[in-house]
């Protein structure tokens, strides 16, 4: 059996104040597979991210990245193979220029200034930010920052990616660009998000998480279209999957209802 990119077995974690964030979660993500991670706030999505990157130590169970268990001893190795895109790109772009941010990971791996430069430029070119290489990170737009963070993470060549709310704060165009970039990647991807339309766009498979447990694990369309399954867990069916235009009922009685009916034909 080929090694899964991500293998999580009975992972559990409780915060110092006693809250049980995860109560035994198991799943796996295959090489190159894109899996969505959805659920209400507090479900444990971010906790999984921290556990996978080794910032938290599980109370029980284990997380395995590319065949290596995530432990204090293996942190360096794991982090070389795992790229994490955090929720706030300002936290990830901490160097004076974009070039420096992307070069950061490479230099930490022991790269020499000489062969770092072409790789940095290539990574920036892939996300379309080559011309901004000398820009101060703080001067970029939200969309550019997200792409920059992506480049900074991709440049060291990770095999697995975990993304935490990657499309929040993005305007439609930036969001579209980001989705396209992510879709073109070949790494295994675990994407935690509230943006269900994006999940549908990018992930054939989705994990529904609530109260620290995996409630459902299967094809995205099947799960997300099932109102009776997802609504008790704080989600609602994305508009693109609705066959009966339920949202018209929200407009019911408002002046907009007539407009909408006209448009629908």
């Amino acid at each position: 059996m080929t090694t899964a990119a991500i293998e999580v077995v009975d992972l559990a974690y409780s915060y110092p104040d006693g809250t049980e964030a995860l109560r035994g979660v198991s799943f796996s993500v295959a090489e190159g597979e894109a899996v969505g991670l959805v659920g209400p706030n507090g479900a444990g999505k971010s906790t999984i991210t921290w556990l996978l990157s080794g910032f938290l130590t599980p109370a029980r169970g284990r997380a395995v990245i590319e065949g290596r268990e995530v432990r204090k001893a293996t942190l360096a190795e794991v982090r070389r193979r795992l790229g994490v895109i955090f929720q706030n790109p300002d936290d990830q772009l901490f160097m004076p220029t974009l070039f420096d941010d992307v070069a950061f990971g490479l230099l930490n791996l022991g790269g020499d200034s000489a062969d770092v430069e072409p790789r940095v430029v290539a990574a920036l070119r892939r996300v379309g930010l080559e011309s901004e290489r000398n820009r101060f990170a703080g001067h970029l737009s939200a969309g550019q920052k997200r792409l920059a963070a992506l480049a900074a993470v991709l440049v060291v060549g990770p095999e697995v990616l975990v993304l935490d709310e990657p499309t929040s704060d993005l305007d439609p165009r930036a969001r579209r660009r980001f989705i396209e970039q992510t879709a073109a990647l070949s790494q295994a991807r675990l994407i935690a998000s509230h943006d269900l339309e994006m999940i549908l766009d990018l992930c054939p498979r989705v994990l529904l998480l609530d109260q620290g447990r995996v409630v459902a694990d299967g094809p995205s369309v099947e799960i997300l279209a099932d109102a009776s399954l997802i609504e008790p867990h704080g989600l609602e069916v994305p508009y693109s999957l609705r066959r009966d235009h339920k949202h018209r009922f929200r407009l019911h009685g408002t002046p907009h209802e007539a407009e909408h009916r006209k448009w629908e034909g």
Binding site: R80, P96, F104
Partner: protein, 265 residues
């Protein structure tokens, strides 16, 4: 100086003129040399300082800095110099110059000298910042063997300066809105609680940045990419500037000019 003007100054530093492209070491050393020479003039020298205005002027013109930028800021901070210098005429009343029967005390002469020095040193500093982005200045200082820990500190400060200031302004505005236009300024107790909140957010941000750094392989050592190249232009700039200033300092050019002019009258 408001944060707004600071931001503008910051933006200017990222321009693309030949002055901008000079090595930051050259510009920093030249500016420092300039300032040292300016303040080395005797207490009562006024006119000999005038030709030195060419240094900041050259920067402004060749660096395409809008003159208003320098003028406004110099004016804005000048009250301080006036406030301190105004005591000179009050205490030094012995006449020093006689012009057309009018007797001017030494105090006024030294006051004028202070003002001229002030304008020169402030505009030189402004010129430096407006033609060199802060990261480049730090890069130059790093190449000049300033302790790396300090350089890194300044770079991180700069990176999060505007971010945190924005946050603070938002907090303050939110608080202001709830005070319904009562007098400006906050009571110390209120200010302290805002500061406390800000501090916690700051601390948490620092944590997140730390995690992001670790996720990209941070081992305690911040490595900076790219070397600066010191070319003949830069060498010429520094030596030329310092030489010119030294000449103006040691050779009574203005005096000679005056005598020559006098001989025509």
């Amino acid at each position: 100086m408001t944060i707004h003007s600071a931001r503008l100054l910051d933006q200017l530093g990222y321009g693309e003129t030949p002055i901008h492209r000079l090595d930051p070491r050259a510009k920093t050393l030249a500016t420092l040399g300039f300032i040292l020479i300016v303040v080395s003039f005797p207490k009562y020298d006024v006119a000999p300082l005038i030709p030195l205005a060419l240094y900041p002027l050259a920067f402004m013109i060749l660096g395409q800095i809008p003159p208003g930028v320098i003028l406004k800021r110099t004016l804005a901070v000048s009250p301080f110099a006036v406030l301190v210098g105004i005591f000179n005429p009050l205490f030094d009343t012995e006449p020093m110059v006689r012009i057309a029967g009018l007797s001017i005390s030494g105090g006024w002469v030294s006051f004028a000298s202070i003002l001229v020095r002030f304008v020169l040193t402030i505009s030189a500093a402004l010129a430096l910042v407006a033609t060199t982005s802060f990261p480049r200045i730090c890069q130059g200082l790093d190449a000049l063997k300033v302790p790396r820990a300090f350089i890194v500190q300044m770079l991180f400060l700069y990176r999060y300066l505007f971010v945190l200031v924005e946050e603070a302004l938002r907090l303050r505005r939110a608080r202001d809105l709830r005070r319904f236009g009562r007098r400006r300024g906050l009571r110390p107790r209120v200010a302290a609680s805002l500061i406390g909140v800000l501090f916690l957010r700051t601390y948490e941000r620092a944590e997140r940045v730390y995690l992001a750094m670790c996720a990209r392989g941070f081992d305690g050592h911040v490595r900076l990419a790219r070397r600066l190249r010191f070319g003949w232009r830069d060498a010429a700039f520094v030596t030329g500037t310092v030489a010119a200033c030294l000449i103006l300092r040691l050779v009574p050019v203005v005096h000679w000019l005056g005598r020559w002019g006098e001989s025509w009258l």
